[in-house]
Each structure stands twice: as structure tokens, then as C-alpha cells.
């Protein structure tokens, strides 16, 4: 090698530069690597597709036919877009009978479609639309009462139900529906306070494409005060929902869509304890690791001391909030309203539901179940949610049924702005708007809400917001609730 024809190389400069580059990039890559990829974000069980979508589908399971009578239902379609959307509703019963009917939802309008008649006891609906922007929910009524819940906009390999009871004459029905073109093989697992049950009859259930099947849980998991359910497919993807029938003195009816995945953070925008009534939270850990769970409650006046528990794998922590002295009884007034945030750490997360039983003598339904609002449902890509009404003026689920209060809670650490509008075919009309500080909640009720009638509500915010509407008349706050369904695209309405 020839002698260098230049000045002596700067050794230390080279070493410093190399070290700075290697260490600096290491720090930079570590800081950026913590962001999870968008594709792995959990998708809520119900989300409204973009208005300009080519097509969309919703699946409703858990209704009974007119001959079944337990939970006769109808499907409600709410069009958040600016153009009418046509489609079809295909109703498939547990006998395999299938009936299809066309449907067209006007822009900004809401349509209640009765379930097409078909033979059998149970029925599921597949709503296929030639566009997007439509939310689909289901309304059921029967001898025990009535209920409302969102349908599901997608299929999943797992569904979790944290609440349910087969105690006394109560019963739980798990509805399975395979709307895909691929056969499914499904297993059901039940978690009770005493054991984890894998009934042989509920293992390896084969669902052919388009088939629906409803399992009577009470016949195998008998007289259990709390039953949490896990639906798992060995192959394929299904839709699952749970119908809870309360009988006897505390009659009630509930239909609960499954949660497709556990999450570490759940919100209940508003609760209220009443004398002689009971409310409890069911915190179900379906995972294989113990979860450290914190339940934080907050009154309008400030936070309350939190509840803590270690929830073992495949077990449920039932927190009877109505029995907690730190939570005041509010009666019918809003003074005792509180919001709840459930946080879990240590594993994949938990699934949270709420059971409400009203004092006897109250209007039916006296009891109900609902899911808490998961983080993915509280995080709308468009920052918009739609809250369908309990039927239309011409076809209410129950005479006089209407949202009595709508609550918004802010589970984030930043202040969010919000607005609540009522959707009408003529356009959206603003009901209220304001700011929502971190971890607080607001409730809208009274004349402003009454003025909305049976029109759907559209909630917009600057960030994540958990939304829940209490639908009355019922025996107590929370017996029938309707969460806000997130919109994946900007509403054309």
C-alpha cells in the first residue's frame, strides 16, 4: 500500500461518529418500534363501514321466530350516509329455512324491517347492502320484556360473553350463525363461579355456510348465578350472540352481542344505583394469565376509591357495585350517576359486562344485561358514532320506548370536544356540544333529548369517547342500554 498522500486520519472523529450513529439509531429504532402496526389494532364487533363502501354486511343472531316467541325480533337499519342504500335481508332459521327480502334505507333515515317469516324456533339475519354507511341493530321483545343491541358487522374466531345467569328459572341461549361460505367447527366453554365447563354436546359443533344454531345453555350449565361464555372456532369464523331470559319476579330480556377479543380497558359511561335494585360488573378473564384489574368509578363531583382484584385465568370477578358503600344510591335523579373504567394488566385483557336488576314493582323489563364499551368501540376512525333509536315511530320496540339519557365518558387523558346531533332525513340537527375533560362524563337527557324522538343520534368528538344510551321505560337505569356504534368513515349525512 502506498504511503498516504494526505494528512493523518482523524481516528477519534471516526470512532465518535460510528458510535454516535450506532447508538443513536438504536435509540431511535427502539422508540419507534413501540408503535403497534395498524393492522393489529382490534376491530370492534360492530362498526359502520364508510358511506362510499362498495358493499357491507351485518349479521344479527339470537332472535326467535314468531312461533318461538321468546325473543321475537326485528332489524333496524340506520343510514348515516347521504344516499339511499339498497340491499337484502336474508333470514335463516335453525331448521335451515331461508327467506330473503329486499330492503332500501333512505339517506339519513332509519328503517325497521320485520324478520322475514321462516319456519323454526330461532332465526338469524344476514343484511347485505350494496353500499356503506348503514348501522344495523336488532330489537327483540317477548313475554319477559324487550331489548335492543347492535348487530355484528363481522365474523370472528372467538366471541366472549362475560355475563349471564341460569340461576332459578333464568336461562341463557347462545346463538351461533355462520354467514360465511366456509364451514365452521365451533366449541363452547362456560365459566361459572365453581368451574370451567366444556359440555361434550357443545364441542365440535359444525355449522355449514349460512347455518344458524342456538344452544340452550341452561340445560347443561344449570342453576349458576354467573355464567361467562367463550365461543371458539376450530375452523372458520362465526357470529355469536347471547340471549338472556329472566323469568319469575324479575322478568327481563336481553340480547348481547359477543365481544370478539379481550381488551385491557373498558368503560361504562354512566351507571346509577337504586334502592332495592342491584347492579354488578362481570369482569371475565378468558386468557391464560392472571389479570390485575382496577375498577375506577367517578361521580360528577369527583373520583371514588378504586376497586382492585386479581382475576385468575378463565374466571370471572363479579363486583356487586350496588353493594359497595362507597357508591351512593342515586335513585332516579342524576345526582348519583357515576362512570366506570375497568383496566386490566398482565395479559391479553378482560371482557366486561354489566347486570342490572330493578326493584320489584318497577316497569318491565326488570332485569337486563349489557356489555361495557371496549376501547376499540370507543375509538372511532371517523370520531363519529351513531346511536340507533329503539324502533321507529311507526314500529317501536315497545310503546313509549325512547332513549332517556345518553352518556358520554372520556376514557382518555386529554380533554375532548363533543357534539350530539339528531339525524333526520332532512339533515342532522345539533342537540348539544361541549368539552369533556379527562376521565369525566356528561349525560344528556330531558327535553333536548325528548325532542329527538325516535330518530337516531349522531355523536361526534375530537377523540375517543365511550357512549351509552339508557333506553326506557324500564325498571332501572341500565336495564336496556344501547352503545354508540362507531363509524369507520365520515358520515355523508
Amino acid at each position: 500500500m502506498s504511503p498516504a498522500a494526505h494528512s493523518e486520519p482523524r481516528r477519534w472523529v471516526v470512532l465518535v461518529v460510528v458510535l454516535v450513529v450506532i447508538v443513536g439509531v438504536a435509540v431511535l429504532s427502539r422508540s419507534t418500534a413501540s408503535a403497534p402496526p395498524a393492522a393489529s389494532l382490534p376491530v370492534p364487533g360492530a362498526i359502520v363501514s364508510e358511506p362510499q363502501a362498495e358493499s357491507s354486511a351485518w349479521y344479527c343472531a339470537g332472535q326467535s321466530t314468531a312461533s318461538g316467541q321468546l325473543a321475537v325480533g326485528s332489524v333496524e337499519l340506520t343510514n348515516t350516509g347521504s344516499r339511499a342504500v339498497a340491499g337484502s335481508i336474508t333470514s335463516t332459521s335453525d331448521t335451515g329455512a331461508s327467506v330473503a327480502a329486499p330492503v332500501s334505507v333512505p339517506a339519513g333515515g332509519q328503517l325497521v324491517a320485520a324478520t322475514p317469516a321462516s319456519a323454526g324456533s330461532w332465526v338469524s339475519q344476514s343484511v347485505v347492502l350494496s353500499g356503506g354507511g348503514v348501522a344495523v341493530s336488532q330489537l327483540i321483545h317477548g313475554p319477559s320484556g324487550w331489548a335492543q343491541s347492535p348487530c355484528q358487522s363481522g365474523t370472528s374466531q372467538q366471541w366472549y360473553f362475560p355475563s349471564g345467569t341460569t340461576a332459578g328459572s333464568n336461562n341463557v341461549y347462545t346463538a351461533l350463525f355462520n354467514p360465511t361460505s366456509t364451514p365452521d367447527v365451533v366449541d363452547l366453554t362456560f365459566v361459572t363461579p365453581s368451574e370451567v365447563v366444556h359440555p361434550i354436546s357443545f364441542q365440535g359443533i359444525v355449522l355449514q355456510p349460512g347455518q344458524t344454531q342456538v344452544e340452550n345453555v341452561g340445560s347443561y350449565v344449570q342453576n349458576q348465578q354467573a355464567v361467562a361464555t367463550t365461543v371458539t372456532t376450530r375452523t372458520g369464523r362465526v357470529v355469536a350472540s347471547e340471549t338472556q331470559v329472566f323469568s319469575g319476579t324479575g322478568a327481563g330480556l336481553a340480547i348481547v352481542p359477543g365481544s370478539p377479543h379481550p381488551e385491557s380497558r373498558w368503560s361504562i359511561p354512566q351507571s346509577r344505583e337504586v334502592s332495592m335494585g342491584s347492579t354488578s360488573l362481570d369482569i371475565f378473564n378468558p386468557g391464560s394469565t392472571t389479570e390485575a384489574v382496577t375498577v375506577s368509578t367517578r361521580l360528577a363531583s369527583g373520583p371514588l376509591p378504586a376497586f382492585h382484584a386479581q382475576v385468575l385465568p378463565e374466571s370471572t370477578w363479579t363486583l356487586a357495585t350496588s353493594a359497595q358503600t362507597r357508591i351512593p344510591k342515586g335513585g332516579a335523579s342524576t345526582a348519583g350517576s357515576y362512570s366506570t373504567i375497568v383496566q386490566a394488566s398482565g395479559g391479553d385483557g378482560v371482557v366486561v359486562g354489566r347486570s342490572v336488576v330493578a326493584p320489584s314493582g318497577s316497569p318491565t323489563p326488570l332485569a337486563g344485561l349489557s356489555n361495557a364499551v371496549d376501547t376499540s368501540s370507543a375509538t372511532s376512525p371517523s370520531h363519529q358514532w351513531v346511536v340507533p333509536s329503539p324502533g321507529s315511530a311507526s314500529a317501536p320496540v315497545q310503546a313509549g320506548a325512547a332513549p332517556s339519557e345518553i352518556a358520554l365518558s372520556n376514557p382518555t387523558g386529554t380533554t375532548e370536544t363533543y357534539s350530539v346531533s339528531v339525524m333526520t332525513p332532512k339533515g342532522n340537527r345539533l342537540l348539544t356540544k361541549g368539552r369533556l375533560p379527562p376521565s369525566t362524563f356528561i349525560s344528556l337527557s330531558g327535553p333536548a333529548l325528548t325532542a329527538a324522538g325516535l330518530n337516531p343520534l349522531l355523536v361526534s368528538s375530537s377523540g375517543s369517547v365511550a357512549i351509552g344510551a339508557n333506553v326506557g321505560p324500564t325498571g332501572a337505569y341500565g336495564v336496556v342500554t344501547m352503545p354508540g356504534i362507531p363509524l369507520s368513515g365520515a358520515s355523508g349525512g
Partner: protein, 1093 residues
């Protein structure tokens, strides 16, 4: 009492001369001064124009001079003395360039009597320096290969001064008994030069005479013919082409073998000689030593032509045979002399010396210095040799481990050529061991390892104006197919072998290139270690285990590119590398560099930008080190070379650039950041399924040694290489994390400069230790150097361990096994398969949907390599991505319908590179999390169960690629659009899949015909000899609404623009190759020169 005092037999010295030089007088004088009284001199002048009588007469007035007619060779001329001379007891046969000591004849005659020898040879020494030995008799092996008993340049210390039997008496001067010479008929007149002495000596022994060397008789020899300073007379050499002395030697050796062996031994030896000759030709061709190859092969053809003549001579010799071959062969060497010498040189002096390519490459017009070839033996003559090997060899050339004073020799490791060879062989064995299961059988359909098309198919694809990628495109194909076709053609259509050579050959080629890169920078030892480090890094095996052909090509070519870049930019010490011809000019160097980049880019497009990255890194490294000798020259050279490369692949490059924003996609497709390697993985090259141990950190750390202890150029180059490494690592991290936008080359390509830099750092570290540390007082530098060397050794262990599985983690089976049912190349109906997955997992090229999700469309058979390099733009196939994006966003439940116009019957999601294996997530390359959910949510896609490693969905709304229905035709909108439900109903397949020559054929009924090929305007539906009227469908496809019934064919017709420009491209390559290979030298007469026999 001396014998000669009693009676001196008559000796006639026969001197054959042709236009002798000024030395001739000295030759004559030496004869005149002989102390042997009964010596007569006969001068035979043949050829030439000069009559030597006057010159002879001045010195030897009694000598006889005879001018022979014509232009005879030496042997034939000497033979005339048999008719001219009577009564002589001995003939002294002499070249005209020999000067005899005064007592030569005396001693030789005396030795003839003493040893009862028929032929006596003197000791030959150098004309100008009599202390240098030329010959002391010679030997040969069974194939007639003549071997000297001494080494080149051996000094005469009397070490060979013993009379002994030899096999060959050199022909320059020999004493032969007259009766024997007469009996043998003199020299073989068919031998014009080179080899006549072998033939005569061999025949003498067959006839029962001894051949001895009498070292007391000393002759100085100029070797004017053998050295090439005196050309052979053209008339004595047959053939149209210039014949080298090597060629003459080889043909005459074989002639001697054919003549002198008996039938049994000839039958036994000839096949061995043939096999050796074949191997030698192969090695010579590989070493680009064309003359040697021609000489060896020509020897066989020449003797075949002269077989009748040889047969007659065999018969004559048989009649005079006294000794059997077994007796004659006692003095022959055992085994093959050439083979032994080749391997000896290979082990001691390396491949170049073994192949002896230097002289043969240069050509007569460009004399070059002799290669620096160390001598091989530790004979006494080499006592003062500077060769490092000398002390380790005894007089027999054996390695003793002790010096000549008996002291045990302590050698630095890896300082001898033999140890270099051993190290390289061990490294090669490890690589071969790790690759053993890939050498035979079929490579799995993984990554870019799809089977190559046939040689004809490759050429067709190269020249074709239409590619089937996507739904069809008229963009030119990559020139890689031209190269694949060329290799396949050379290998007579053995495409499996071609694939292995082109893929697996990248690893040794990379090592060779890296060795060349290091040659000017470091010592031979450092170069060997650095090259082994380059082989010992996990990167090439990561590329191989992941099926990344582009990574392997980059590994093979970037060392050459970096070396050429430095050389063309005249960066010290690369500016001292010299070469001959046009290649060494500035333009020639740019052309060579551009050609290498072009070839590499054809297979691995990302090599093109990486060349610029290397240049930028070198400039950056120079700035950081404060070096001022580089400037922006290297950037300018790199830019010009890249421009040259683009020019050489212009049709493909232009076709790529017309893809607009998609063009950058040819460099690589984006992967998901979630599955990207982390910074630690990147730095230690853990981007594949093998050799992922953290121990590799040691190797990387050791490469920083020159930054700590290096000085001068070594430190500067270490700074440059570390700048290169840092830039390469950062770019690899950035491209896999999606920080570089659409420019996302494969990490196996981007990391190659870092691999070069790390290995070079190790080499520079050793060079720094040798130069900057070894001779200074003991300090931390020695300690650090020792630790670094240990780290280097340990750092390569993961690769050695990774070699155990025999396939570098490459799965035994790819997607061809679960998807065997798709392989229907002869299907009656044409359909397509939509492939989805991480771009690293797809067995075909494709286009991105999003980071970590790519798509590709293939026909109704498993893909081959024609679909590995897809055009930059997807064309109408982009509608598949649009539909897929809708599905992923939850904005459609009818993806099957949206894919129907593309003819998609199956959607295949590849679960990973080795879905059933155990690779870590960053290598397994799974599809995006939400993809399966989105596909299962589609109403019209039905999962096909039972496939392992892939997800397969059948499209319930499939529309065949060519189809017909009775319903009304499709809408004719000009914009790409999705179909409605009615658009995809009622179709039935009508035509066969599109074939290269015949198009798609079949019988149709009357009614609308749909054809899902693009560009639709270049396709014609011919029904009963008439072209049907075409209308657009879905904005890009074609439909023929009023097709009539009858036999129909759909075929591609357009102006052959692409084939023409590709022909021009090919012509450009041919011209460049001719220029680089020095075509101008052809046709120039090549004078015979001295060459390695």
C-alpha cells in the same frame, strides 16, 4: 590410465543452423577448442537466407558446411548427416546456440564407454550466467510430459554432478553412438521442433541403450528457440493458425507416447492421458488460457490426422525393441507430472500461478513482467532464496518444520501459500456442507427460487413483446432472462443446473470478488482471512434460506462493483492496479463497471442504487477521516457507471420508468414494520433463518480493530468501510421500517455493503496489526488485536453451525406442495390465481397493497421464474389491489365479484416463508393480521380446507379469463370499474389458456365473448378467418359482442417494437463484450513464445 590415450573413436559434431545470430562464432569457437582430436565438424544450414560457410571457415577451416535445400526442421536436417558421414563412432548433435566447454566431447565419449551408454547428455547451463543450471538430463511421466530434474533458476553448486541415468537427453547437445543413431533412423522427421529429444531418447531405450547424463561435460545454451527469441520457420509448421511451442511440445509428446509404448501399455496409458488432457482443457478454459486449451486439444487431433504415419513408425520400432515397456518405464516419473505440479503450485502459490494464466492472457503484443511465482523446493540451490517457504522445506521439497540449522521454525499463522489454500479449502468445505442438500433435487417454491423456464422459453420471454404478469403487459422483460437463456443454452437446456449455478454460484463468486477488492489493500494473509470472514457472515445464507436470489446476486457482484469503483476513481491504492488494453482506459473502466452493474441490476435491481450508496459512503468516510484524495471523483464515476448500466439495459429501464410512481417498486416491496428486523438483527445480519446467534456480534466488533490501531491508508479505508457499513445498516433499518417511502429494497441486498465493510474491516485490522503494531513495543494494541482475532474466529461459528442442516434453513418444501392441485398448465379453461402475503413469502414478484402485503396474479399453473421479476407497474391488475383494499377496510363483502374480471378463481394467502417451520417472526413473514378476517368475511370467497402453510379461497363468482354467455354484453365504459352482480353471471369458459405461439383457441357459439387480457387493443379474436369487432369491458379488458359461432383464436398482434429494441440491446452487449475481450487482437499473427508446457 585414461582410455582416450589409447584410441580415440571418431566423433562428428553435427551443427544444424538457420540464420544464426552473432553468438554463432562462439559456438564454433567452442568446437574448435575441444581437446578431443578426433572431432570433425559438419555444419548443416537449413532454411534462412544466409550461407554460413564464410563464418564457419574463419573459425573452423576444416569443417564441412552443407547448405540443405528447403526449410527442414532440426531433426530432419540432422538426419541428413547419416548419409553424408561414414566411419564415425559417435555423432555429437548440436544446436547452433550451444557453447561447449573445452573438454565436453572428451568427457562425453569417455562416459559413453564407462557407462555403456548409447546416448550421453551434458550439463546445460545458462549462456550468459553459467552458474544457473538449465538441464541436467530430464525425465518424463507416463503421458510423455517432460519434466526437468532441476528448478527454474537453480544455481549450480555441483549438487547434480553425479552421472546418472535419465529418461531424456536434451536435444540441444547430445552424444549418440553412430550405430544406434543409424539403427533408429535418426530423429523422427515428423517432429519439426520440440520433443525430438524425448522421442529419440525413448526409442534409444526401447532399443536397449542407456541414456546418461555426464555433468562433467558442461554446455552453455542460449535456448533461442525455446525462449521465443528466434521464431520457427513458418514453412516447417503445419496448419493455418499460428502454432505455439507449447502446441508443438504437446503434439510431439503424444506422438512419442503413441509410438514408443507397446500395445498393452498404450491401451493402459492412453485413456489416462485422454482424461488428463480433458481435465486440463477444462481448467485452461476456466482460467481463460485459450492457448493451452488449444494446444492440448490440438495434440490429439493432430496425431489423429497422422495416425497412419505413427502406425508405420510403431512397426519399425517394434522390430528393434529389446526392452519391454516395464523396463523402460523405470526412469519415468510415477503419476502425472503435470497434475502434481498443478496441485503443488496451487497449494504453494495460489490459483493464478497454478493456472499460469498471466503469460497466456497478455498476448504477444503486450509483454508483461513475469508473474511473481515462488519456487517450490527447498533444494540447496535455493539456499539463499527469499521465499518464505524455503526454510520449511528440505532438499526433497518436504516440509520439515525445522530450518537448515535444525532449529524448530515458528511460523506466523496463515503466512504460507499452503496454509492459505488449506484455510480456503476448509471454508469451501463448510459452505459446501451447508449447501449439500440444495445441490441436487428440486429447489422449493420459496421466495425467488421458482424454477427457471426452459432455455427457449427464457429467450422467448426476453424478446417477447408481451408478458403475462398481472393480466398482461407490453413492458420489456428484464435482461436477466437473456442471461438465463444464455446459460441454459450453454448447458444444453439443463435449466436445473443453470439455476443452481446462477443461485449457489453467487456465494463463491462473492468471495472471489471480495478477494479481488482486498488485493490492493492488505497482505495475502489478511486477504485470505477477510475473504473467509466474508464467507462467514450470515448474510448470504440468510438470503439463501429465505429464497432471496437478489440478495445473493448483490452478495456476488457488489464486491466487484466496489473494487471497480475504487479503481475507476483512481483511489489509492487502487490507482496502482494496472491492466492492459482498452479496459484500462477511463472509458473502458466505466464500461466494465457499468456492465457489472447492469448484469447485477437485471437480477437484483436494488444493486443500482446501492452502487451510488457505496460511492456516497466512501465520500462520507473520507470526509470523516479527513482524507483529501478522494474528492467527488468517486461520485462522478459511480454516476457515469450507473448511467452506462442503464444504457445497457435501456429497454427494460425505459419500460420501468414509464410505470411512473410504481417504478421504484422494482427495487423491492415494503414489508410490515411489525415483522421487520430490529437494529441488532440488522447489524449482525440476522435477517434469515440461520446463523442468528448473537455471537456474530463478535465478528462485527472485531471489524472495528483498524479504527483503533490502524494508521495511514489503513485507517482511512477503515473509516470509509465503516461509513459504508453504517449507511448500509441505517438504510436496511429504514427500508424495512418504511421510513424511506416507496423505496424499500430487500434487506438482503441493502446489507451487502455492510457485509463487505465488516469483512474488509477484519482484513484491514490484520493488515494494521502486521504493519502498524507488530513491530512496536508491547502495548494494549497487541492485546486488542489478539482479542479481535479470537472474536473473528468465534464470530464465524454460527455460520459453521448453521451449515449442519445442509440447506441454510431453506424449507424442504415450498408452496408447491399444498398448492399442487393448482398446477394445471394444460387446463382447458384459463383462470388466474391471486397471490397475497408478505412480499418475502410470495413465490413470485408482485406489487404492494400496503406494507407487508403484496399481491400477484399468475395463470392456472404454479409460477416459474418468469413471474419472479414482474414489471414495475401492475397495469389493470391494480384493480385487484383496489378491491382488496376495500375488503381490508371492511368496505366490501364481495371481493370475489370484484376480482372476477381478472379471471381470479383462487385467492392464495401465503402464511410465511416457512409456515410450518419455527423461524422467528421477523423471518417468517406472515400476512397482515386482518387479512384472513377480511377474506373470510367475503360472501363470495369460500375457504378451501386442508392446506398447510397457505390459505386458499375459491371465488364463487369466478369469471373465466376467456368466456362467453348468452346474455347481453357488458357495459363498455372506458374507465377501470368493478362489475355488478349481473356482470359476472352466466359466463362459461370458451378458449384454452394463452399459449406462446398459438394464442388461445377453441370453438365458440354466437354471442358476446369476454377476454381478460391486457392491453386489449393488442389482441385479436379471429373467428373463422375474420377478426371480430372488439369493445372495451371494465375499462381495460376486451369483449367481442357480436362474435359468430365457429373455431376461434385469440392472439397478440402488435408492431414488434420490443423485440427490435431488445435486439439492439443485445447487439450493444456483443459489441461491448468484444471490446472488453480485446477482439482487435484476433487475426494478428502470434509469434511462438515460451510457455508453460
Amino acid at each position: 590410465m585414461p582410455l582416450m590415450d589409447v584410441q580415440a573413436p571418431a566423433v562428428v559434431a553435427v551443427v544444424v543452423t538457420t540464420d544464426p545470430g552473432p553468438w554463432f562464432e562462439e559456438t564454433l569457437t567452442s568446437l574448435a577448442r575441444q581437446d578431443y582430436e578426433e572431432l570433425s565438424v559438419l555444419v548443416l544450414a537449413t532454411g534462412g537466407g544466409e550461407d554460413p560457410s564464410e563464418r564457419v571457415g574463419r573459425i573452423l577451416p576444416n569443417a564441412f558446411v552443407r547448405q540443405l535445400p528447403g526449410d527442414l526442421g532440426y531433426g530432419a536436417a540432422a538426419n541428413t548427416a547419416l548419409d553424408m558421414v561414414e566411419g564415425a563412432a559417435f555423432f555429437l548433435l548440436c544446436h547452433h546456440d550451444c557453447a561447449l566447454d573445452d573438454d565436453v566431447v572428451h568427457n562425453m565419449v569417455e562416459e559413453s564407454f564407462r557407462s555403456n551408454a548409447g546416448v550421453v547428455s551434458p550439463k546445460f547451463v545458462n549462456w550468459d550466467d553459467p552458474s544457473i543450471l538449465l538441464h541436467v538430463g530430464m525425465s518424463c511421466d507416463k503421458t510423455g510430459a517432460v519434466v526437468d530434474r532441476i528448478q527454474d533458476g537453480e544455481v549450480d553448486h555441483g549438487q547434480h554432478d553425479a552421472v546418472r541415468d535419465v529418461f531424456v537427453a536434451p536435444g540441444a547437445c547430445m552424444l549418440i553412438r553412430a550405430d544406434l543413431w543409424r539403427e533408429l533412423g535418426g530423429f523422427d522427421a515428423g517432429i519439426v521442433a520440440m520433443g525430438e529429444d524425448l522421442d529419440l531418447s525413448w526409442r534409444s531405450q526401447v532399443a536397449g541403450s542407456r541414456v546418461v547424463v555426464a555433468p562433467d561435460a558442461r554446455v552453455r545454451h542460449r535456448e533461442v528457440v525455446a525462449s521465443g527469441s528466434e521464431p520457427l520457420a513458418a514453412s516447417v509448421v503445419e496448419g493455418d493458425h499460428p502454432v505455439t511451442l507449447q502446441a508443438l511440445q504437446r503434439r510431439h509428446e503424444l506422438r512419442a507416447v503413441l509410438k514408443c509404448y507397446g500395445r498393452f501399455h498404450l491401451f493402459r496409458v492412453l485413456p489416462q492421458a485422454g482424461l488428463l488432457a480433458f481435465c486440463e482443457v477444462v481448467v485452461a478454459l476456466l482460467a481463460r488460457d485459450g492457448r493451452r486449451a488449444r494446444a492440448v486439444a490440438g495434440a490429439w487431433t493432430w496425431n489423429a490426422k497422422h495416425w497412419g504415419e505413427v502406425r508405420a513408425l510403431r512397426a519399425e520400432l517394434k522390430a528393434r525393441r529389446l526392452f519391454p515397456d516395464s523396463e523402460v518405464r523405470r526412469l519415468q516419473l510415477r503419476g502425472s507430472a503435470r497434475l502434481s505440479r498443478y496441485f503443488s503450485r496451487l497449494s504453494h502459490q495460489g490459483l493464478a500461478a497454478a493456472n499460469a494464466v498471466v503469460s497466456s492472457r497478455q498476448g504477444a503484443s503486450a509483454p508483461q513482467p513475469e508473474p511473481e511465482v515462488a519456487v517450490l523446493t527447498g533444494s540447496v540451490g535455493l539456499a539463499f532464496s527469499e521465499d518464505a517457504d524455503f526454510d520449511d522445506l528440505d532438499d526433497l521439497g518436504h516440509r520439515s518444520g525445522r530450518d537448515r540449522f535444525g532449529r524448530k521454525v515458528r511460523r506466523d499463522p496463515l503466512t504460507s501459500g499452503r496454509s492459505h489454500t488449506v484455510a480456503i479449502v476448509v471454508a469451501a468445505i463448510v459452505v459446501l456442507l451447508g449447501t449439500r442438500e440444495l445441490l441436487f433435487g428440486t429447489l422449493p417454491l420459496v421466495g425467488q427460487l421458482a424454477p427457471l423456464p426452459g432455455w427457449a422459453g427464457s429467450w422467448h420471454h426476453f424478446f417477447s413483446g408481451w408478458q403475462p404478469a398481472g393480466v398482461g403487459t407490453t413492458a420489456p422483460a428484464t435482461p436477466a432472462f437473456g442471461l438465463v437463456g444464455l446459460v441454459g443454452t450453454v448447458l444444453l437446456g439443463s435449466m436445473g443446473l443453470a439455476q443452481r449455478i446462477l443461485i449457489l454460484g453467487c456465494i463463491p463468486l462473492g468471495a472471489i470478488g471480495f478477494s479481488q477488492l482486498m488485493r490492493p489493500l492488505v497482505s495475502a494473509r489478511a486477504r485470505v482471512v477477510a475473504t473467509i470472514c466474508y464467507l462467514g457472515l450470515p448474510l448470504p445464507y440468510a438470503a439463501l434460506g429465505s429464497g432471496r436470489w437478489d440478495g445473493l446476486v448483490a452478495y456476488a457482484t457488489l464486491p466487484f462493483i466496489v473494487a471497480r469503483l475504487a479503481r475507476a476513481a483512481e483511489v489509492a491504492p487502487f490507482d496502482q492496479v494496472t491492466g492492459g488494453g482498452w479496459r484500462s482506459t477511463a472509458l473502458g473502466q466505466i464500461a466494465v463497471l457499468g456492465a457489472i452493474i447492469a448484469v447485477a441490476t437485471s437480477f437484483a435491481p436494488a444493486v443500482l442504487p446501492m452502487t451510488l450508496v457505496c460511492a456516497v459512503a466512501f465520500v462520507g468516510g473520507s470526509i470523516v477521516t479527513g482524507s483529501t484524495d478522494l474528492g467527488g471523483r468517486v461520485l462522478w464515476v459511480a454516476a457515469k457507471a450507473v448511467g452506462m448500466a442503464v444504457l445497457l439495459i435501456a429497454p427494460w429501464a425505459v419500460g420501468t420508468l414509464t410505470a411512473g410512481s410504481h417504478a421504484v417498486g422494482i427495487f423491492g416491496l415494503p414489508i410490515s414494520a411489525a415483522n421487520a428486523p430490529n437494529w441488532g438483527d440488522v447489524i449482525r445480519f440476522a435477517v434469515g433463518p440461520t446463523a442468528r446467534s448473537p455471537i456474530v456480534w463478535l465478528l462485527v466488533a472485531a471489524s472495528a480493530l483498524p479504527l483503533l490501531i490502524g494508521r495511514g491508508q489503513r485507517l482511512i479505508w477503515a473509516g470509509r468501510f465503516w461509513a459504508l457499513a453504517c449507511l448500509s445498516w441505517i438504510l436496511a433499518l429504514a427500508s424495512t421500517r418504511g421510513w424511506t417511502g416507496a423505496f424499500t429494497p430487500s434487506e438482503t441486498v441493502v446489507l451487502v455493503p455492510a457485509a463487505i465493510a465488516v469483512a474488509a474491516g477484519v482484513g484491514l485490522g490484520i493488515a494494521s496489526f502486521e504493519t502498524d503494531v507488530a513491530r512496536v513495543a508491547f502495548s494494549w494494541r497487541q492485546v486488542v488485536s489478539g482479542v479481535a482475532m479470537i472474536a473473528v474466529s468465534l464470530g464465524m461459528l454460527p455460520v459453521a453451525v448453521g451449515a449442519l442442516d445442509g440447506r441454510w434453513g431453506l424449507p424442504a418444501n415450498g408452496v408447491e406442495q399444498p398448492l399442487a392441485f393448482l398446477n394445471q398448465p394444460n387446463a382447458a379453461a384459463a383462470y388466474r390465481v391471486l397471490w397475497l402475503g408478505d412480499p418475502r413469502a410470495l413465490p413470485v414478484g408482485g406489487w404492494p397493497v400496503d406494507a407487508g402485503l403484496s399481491y400477484a396474479l399468475t395463470g392456472q399453473s404454479l409460477p416459474d421464474a418468469t413471474l419472479v421479476w414482474t414489471p414495475a407497474g401492475p397495469g389493470p391488475a391494480a384493480t385487484a389491489a383496489a378491491g382488496l383494499q376495500l375488503a381490508l377496510d371492511g368496505n366490501t363483502v364481495h371481493l370475489g365479484r370484484l376480482l372476477a374480471p381478472l379471471g381470479v378463481r383462487y385467492v392464495v394467502v401465503v402464511d410465511g416463508i416457512n409456515p410450518v417451520g419455527s423461524e422467528v417472526a421477523s423471518v417468517n413473514a406472515p400476512p397482515p393480521v386482518g387479512l384472513q378476517r377480511s377474506l373470510l368475511d367475503q360472501d363470495d370467497l369460500q375457504a378451501v380446507p386442508g392446506q398447510v402453510g397457505v390459505q386458499v379461497y375459491q371465488n364463487a363468482e369466478n369469471l373465466p379469463v376467456t368466456a362467453q354467455r348468452a346474455r347481453p354484453p357488458l357495459p363498455t365504459g372506458p374507465i377501470w370499474s368493478f362489475p355488478t352482480a349481473a356482470d359476472v353471471q352466466g359466463w362459461r369458459p370458451v378458449l384454452t389458456p394463452l399459449a406462446h405461439r398459438n394464442g388461445a383457441t377453441g370453438t365458440i357459439a354466437s354471442g358476446p365473448v369476454y377476454a381478460g387480457y391486457a392491453p386489449a387493443g393488442d389482441f385479436t379474436l379471429d373467428v373463422g378467418g375474420h377478426a371480430a369487432t372488439r369493445r372495451p369491458a371494465f375499462g381495460w379488458a376486451g369483449q367481442y359482442p357480436a362474435a359468430t359461432a365457429g373455431p376461434a383464436s385469440l392472439s397478440f398482434h402488435n408492431f414488434p417494437f420490443v423485440p427490435l429494441v431488445v435486439l439492439v440491446e443485445l447487439a450493444g452487449w456483443v459489441v461491448l463484450a468484444a471490446a472488453l475481450l480485446g477482439w482487435r487482437s484476433r487475426g494478428r499473427p502470434v509469434q511462438p513464445t515460451r510457455e508453460e508446457p
